[in-house]
Symmetry: C2
Subunit: 297 residues, 2 copies
């Protein structure tokens, strides 16, 4: 079985759950002279001279900032600083994504973890249950509303929002669409957040119905990917339909079309004559298309 | 292809996204004399005399409560009342689960949606970004921190927390474990929340390593299920390992063991002589075991 490992999904670092939850072990990890600190510029990565993630020493962290335990690299504790940087809106910086796409898989996963958590802390400083200010706990893996500070005692955990992203197939062609914010000619797989009370398969069906007006069956899981802009879990699926007639929700999708195997091949090849520009390699939609091409052989 | 549809995953109601986001359409739906209101007792369902979900009329809702648009049943708008009920901790009421397991699949999905959302509103009344009180928007599918009320303008969406739940297979046996809160002799599949910066497969690997001390490969997706206690998306997988030696994290798992096909069959059969009690039919762990049994034939 050939497991697809999309960008950001190749994490190998030990997340050291048993250190997070033990205040003494956590303190010892922070005090260790070899402990490292991931360099960040706000939410963005800092690269060293060979284009890999840059690290400093944990003792260089600002005393005003809490530390996030990313995990243990062997005996070396690895941290990031909760520097207060939060994302204002959806990130749309292709240069950043490209630089991240070039990282070794385990480094991309470390950055994805750090970015999602730093951002989550910045945008979740207050208790959603009672409105009081909360504090970082468990090495940055929770926020606590402290009863001693007149809070309600609630514990809050980082969000991970599952998103269904999917191809539909009909008569040997696949459906792709364009969001208004896409660069010219770029098409990608349709996608949407999975809602409470819905399975992955239910989300795939609903999104394709809402956005493209098609009814699909034979939904099949392909691969998954953490997407730290800000905190999605992309869940990639394929599906089939018998009726290719589209009814677009133009508030979500400005254009959608069915593409043949040859058209997809030529786009994935980067040909100038291709009818569309394929999603970039670090997007799981790229893996979905590659998987579909492989299955047609 | 035989798609597994676990309890709560069989939603068929049109969620009517285009009504939620349009204040005029939403108002018209609320004012429609035929509009229905799901009866709830706090977070619990109310059953009618044939054991199905009980409904009243939307105009019977308390004027103090916001309404949640569950969707459209044909031309009939269906709502639930945001009644302020929130879950204090993890729900552990097997009688409730059994009654829900007996509902028609689409009704179980409607209840799952209503329960998750009512609970989310009750526990997320304040803005996590600035601490101000927020208001329900989009027919209950968002909360808004109003700038006109001195808020920060943030929009908050309901949480759905992805959970990996998985079997490991070794030498024809499957791994299952017991949490301390389980009834006597009950074993189930191991499970844990998928974290930021992690794929589904990464979560499966990490959880089995943390909780049972085994290294797995060949992770395969099987099925998914919304679990409204309070708002998980259960993602069920299988995996393999070559080394059956276990090292348990006893803070999470009080016991774990490998069970043969015959032992699993006898447990799923409900035999008195079975070495363990199988997870109940409304739990996706039940579907996972059934799927594994079917694959061994």
């Amino acid at each position: 079985m050939n497991q697809i490992v999309p960008a950001f999904a190749g994490g190998t670092m030990d997340r050291a759950d048993q250190v997070r939850v033990d205040p003494e072990k956590l303190r010892a990890a922070m005090m260790k002279p070899s402990a490292r600190l991931l360099k960040l510029d706000g939410l963005n990565p800092v690269f060293d001279d060979i284009g890999e993630l840059a690290w400093g020493a944990a003792y260089e962290a600002s005393p005003d900032n809490d530390l996030l335990l990313l995990g243990m690299d062997g005996e070396t504790p690895c941290f990031a600083e909760l520097n207060g940087a939060g994302s204002a809106g959806p990130a749309a910086d292709p240069h950043l994504w490209q630089a991240l796409g070039a990282l070794p898989p385990d480094q991309a996963a470390i950055y994805a973890t750090a970015r999602s958590l730093v951002d989550w802390h910045a945008r979740h400083r207050y208790c959603a249950n009672c409105g009081r200010e909360t504090i970082s706990r468990k090495g940055g893996w929770a926020r606590h509303c402290d009863k001693d500070e007149d809070g309600c005692g609630a514990e809050h955990f980082p969000r991970t929002d599952p998103v269904a992203i999917m191809l539909a197939e009909c008569e040997g062609k696949v459906l792709m669409g364009r969001q208004p914010m896409f660069p010219p000619k770029r098409f990608s797989a349709l996608a949407g957040f999975i809602e409470p009370g819905e399975s992955i398969e239910g989300g795939v069906k609903r999104e394709l119905w809402e956005e493209a007006g098609i009814k699909v069956r034979d939904i099949r899981y392909v691969a998954s990917q953490p997407w730290p802009f800000p905190s999605s879990l992309m869940i990639a699926c394929t599906s089939r339909t018998d009726d290719p007639e589209l009814t677009l929700d133009t508030t979500e999708i400005e254009e959608a079309a069915w593409f043949s195997l040859d058209e997809v091949k030529s786009a994935m090849n980067g040909d100038d004559s291709a009818p569309f520009i394929a999603p970039p390699p670090f997007a799981i939609a790229h893996d979905l298309l590659k998987n579909w091409m492989d299955e047609q052989e």
